[in-house]
Amino acid sequence: MAHDREVAGIRCTDVLAGLSEYLDGELPADQVSRVEAHLARCDWCERFGGQMAGVVRALREQLVRAPEVPGDVERRLLERLAEEPQ
């Protein structure tokens, strides 16, 4: 196992389990304070949490815009819809 220790009353594995909910602001308030106390004193989890936040942020920023639909795909779509009976 990589590491797992109890810091600020919560184990690293529990921080890992709740990390996405923490990043999304969906963790209950009492758990947020415990996770943040853990992160403040656990370099491993703080570093990993920062990495996960960076990956999620990059995904949203870089790929949020839907790719251009190729012109021929759009043309075939509109042709199909024009042919479709009501």
Binding site: M1, E26, F48, Q51, L63, L78
Partner: protein
């Protein structure tokens, strides 16, 4: 309800027009949403051809279903549900899903939890690298990331679309993020369990 600018009708207004047989409204609606629909279809399909079939079928289903659209809930959630249904009607069953369940801790370790800092995902997380990593994930992971992170659906909307509980949807999203982080680690890292 129309927006103040009549040239940019809302989705709801377009659906009302489509329900009355307005093909021009259908064209506007399709052009507006085709990018999102195609991206989602690609996340579910194994080929570009299947994704294009699902794209077309989605908007055919919009034409057929506009009159019965309830008006409750976001249009985009309804639209992407039509896409999902179109994909499954075409393929019946998605293949390529992971055959075994990887424990969360193991997924975390693959993503670099507890590893040396230089082996974590990082560097330039540019569009091509992210797109490639996303494409390499399992279908279920790719799907939930597209819905939540790219299409911006809420947790409850995503859960409804996937037919899962909210808790199961959150779990799937968390595991998908870990899979993505693992895929973005430097190639020379081989210290997984």
């Amino acid at each position: 309800m129309e927006t103040p600018d009549a040239l940019t009708p809302t989705d709801q207004a377009l659906l009302e027009r489509i329900a009355k047989g307005d093909r021009r409204a259908l064209g506007i609606f399709a052009t507006r949403h085709q990018g999102s629909v195609l991206r989602y279809a690609r996340s579910l399909c194994r080929s570009e051809e299947q994704a294009e079939d699902a794209l077309q079928q989605t908007f055919v289903d919009v034409l057929r279903g506009a009159a019965s659209w309830s008006g409750r809930g976001p249009v985009r959630t309804w639209l992407l549900t039509l896409t999902r249904n179109a994909v499954y009607r075409g393929a019946r069953r998605r293949s390529g899903e992971p055959a075994h369940f990887v424990p969360l801790q193991e997924l975390g370790e693959l993503a670099g939890w507890g590893a040396d800092p230089e082996t974590l995902a990082g560097g330039s997380l540019d569009r091509d690298r992210l797109r490639s990593a996303l494409a390499g994930l399992s279908g279920a992971s790719r799907e939930v990331l597209v819905l939540r992170e790219l299409e911006g659906l809420s947790g409850p909307e995503t859960a409804t679309l996937l037919g899962l509980s909210l808790a199961a949807t959150k779990s799937r999203l968390h595991r998908a993020r870990l899979e993505l982080a693992a895929a973005l680690r430097p190639e020379e890292v081989t210290d997984g369990p």
